[in-house]
């Protein structure tokens, strides 16, 4: 049972890491707790579903949905967040309120356009499960592990091996100095939104396949749980987010499997966060260790 629970934890931890990655990238550069990223996750899952049922290709569903939601991210940054942040002495709560508004609007729009009932991907992997000794692996998990690894690798390459990535890191470190040094901070910000919203779309599709169900309420849990994960990971640190996602996944799975503590599973993320902040207020890896 222990090994099986270990795999369960790894799967759910990967889902958390991927779900929170989008918001992490945006916080890293703009300092905005972008709850609207949960809306991108929702819209991505729905767009993916329509593309999958329209074309029959899950690869196209991922690619087109990631691109479309990434473009949506740029539009939101350009027409909503940038004007808000450009105003002098903007209180930090204002973009947060805008993000909450955008998220609520996205849930309602999806409900009004697509209806309230659940939609199922019914994606056929060809096999129900794979048995390796005492462990049973569900194919959707393997897709999640593989996709999480590939997306994180792409992210690492973009941020560390490209000029745009260098601009992103410079802007994330200090936007004013980066601008003075000739870095195109607008491009860096746009990159954040393309990646941030694209990641969210990919996570939405994967969760849709994993649970075979998407509803207009899909973004509700990520909208608050991703906050715990990105704060725990060190606010804007992608590697920290992966670690935080895994830690919360493991804690949830093992506490619910081996104990009967009267804490709702969803609250465990926040209990872990509080304990961690008391011990290490800068988060797991802190902002200085950004990849």
């Amino acid at each position: 049972m222990f090994t099986q629970q270990l795999m369960n934890a790894l799967a759910i931890g990967s889902v958390y890491a991927l779900t929170a990655m989008g918001a992490t990238l945006i916080y890293g550069i703009l300092g905005i707790l972008d709850i609207a990223n949960a809306g991108a996750y929702l819209i991505g899952a729905y767009l993916g579903w329509y593309i999958y049922y329209g074309t029959g290709s899950i690869v196209l569903a991922f690619v087109l949905s990631i691109v479309a939601v990434g473009i949506l991210g740029i539009l939101i940054q350009k027409f909503i967040y940038s004007p808000i942040l450009a105003k002098p002495n903007t209180l930090s709560i204002i973009p947060l309120v805008a993000a909450v508004g955008l998220f609520t609007m996205s849930s309602d729009l999806v409900r009004l356009i697509c209806g309230p009932y659940s939609l199922s991907y019914n994606f056929d992997f060809g096999v129900t499960s794979i048995k390796i000794g005492p462990v049973v692996l569900v194919p959707a998990w393997i897709l999640i592990f593989a996709l999480t690894a590939v997306l994180l690798l792409i992210l690492w390459i973009i941020l560390n091996k490209t000029k745009l990535g260098l601009a992103w890191r410079a802007t994330a470190n200090d936007p004013e100095i980066a601008k003075v040094c000739g870095v195109n901070t607008n491009n860096a910000m746009a990159l954040s939104y393309i990646l941030g919203y694209g990641f969210a779309a990919a996570a939405g599709i994967m969760v849709g396949i994993l649970y075979n169900s998407i509803t207009p309420a899909l973004g509700e849990v990520p909208s608050y749980k991703m906050l715990a994960i990105i704060v725990l990971g060190g606010l804007g640190n992608p590697l920290g987010t992966v670690l935080a996602g895994l830690i919360i996944g493991f804690t949830e799975v093992f506490l619910s499997a081996y104990t009967s503590i009267p804490i709702p599973k969803d609250a465990i993320a926040f209990v872990v966060l509080i304990i961690m902040l008391l011990i290490k207020p800068e988060g797991l890896l802190g902002q200085k260790n950004k990849i």
């Binding site: 099986q4 629970q5 309230p116 659940s118 049973v136 649970y211 075979n212 169900s213 009967s260």
Partner: protein, 401 residues
Amino acid sequence: MKKFLSILLILCMVFMFAACGGETNEGGEEGGGEAALPEVIKIGFFAPVSAPSAAADGLSSLNSAKLAVKLINENGGINGSTVELVDMDDGLDTTEAANIAEKLAYDDSVVAVVSGSYSGPTKVAAPIFQEAGKLMVSAYAVHPDVVNAGDLIFSQSFPGKLQGTAAAIYANDTLKAKKIAIISVDLDFGATQIEAFKAQLEKMGSDAEIVYEQAIAISDSDMSSAVTAAAAAGADLIYSVNYYEQAAQVLREVGQKGLDIPVLGTEGADSFELLNIAGEYANGLYITTNMNRDDQNAETQAYIENYEAEYGIQPDMVGASVYDAFQVLFAAMKEVGVDTQAMRDYIAGMQNFDTVTGTLIRYNEDGSAVKPVQIQLVTNGEYHSAGVIDDMEVIDPANYQ
């Protein structure tokens, strides 16, 4: 000429009084006979249509309410009067539910109300309707505070404790479970049924033991750790007290992991949504519910047929219960008109009334419905009858006060 004008004036006055008489809300003659009815009978209705987390149930409720009104009007209305639905959206928000209740309760043109909402909004609205002297029939809210609000409040649903008791009887007597794992939603809905389930096992002197128990937050879709732990504990039955989304995830986990453990669910899993999400893994699921799709009762089959024709999807327990609430009101209005007290007395005295969700044996003094518990089994992706529990000792809500 003067004489002619006088006669004309008198005739006009006679017609005017006759017309005014037709618009009064008086009714009240009990037991047969057509009571005076308004030309348009307005029935208030509220459901959580816009709350993303409850909108599927909200829409099922609203669809059924509209269907009930459409069909009654197509069949000549209520003794010739047209029924009009005044539908409101509570958004699963108790403050909004209170506002809606105030609006409907003090709108004199609304003669009665149906709640197509959850326990939270319904138990907030119930005392407002009681206070205002307006009749309300709740379709599927399970909280006891709904009917406890007063004598003008009725409920079509059976209490959670009753359902938990019936589940224990079925698990022990029919499924012969010896090691039971409980995976339940961390809400009143789960807690009350589990409590009754365990109490009944003990009362029966069952040798079945609870080998694993886990309460899951309503927002949680991940059942992997709970199902793995249940299997590791050697469970030969999983009692899944969840709504359809989570119940479907329990079934998917059991099926995908290749576990041979039957699952017993509740009316929360009585939805076409569960069949869509769980797919082939839904086969073999038992549930305790109030809707029997195999019931050859004309009402049930006509409802299923009409609903599918109107909306292109299968009806669910929530929608069926709303439809029934309207049928109860229509029956009362046909017999005694729209006087609140007369309708209340008529409904309180109803016996063996055929509804879509089975025979309504009677209402208890507190206004809760007495009806058999249906056991449904999913086979080939459809719900079918797998038994009924109709022992009055078990199905009388008065025994669970």
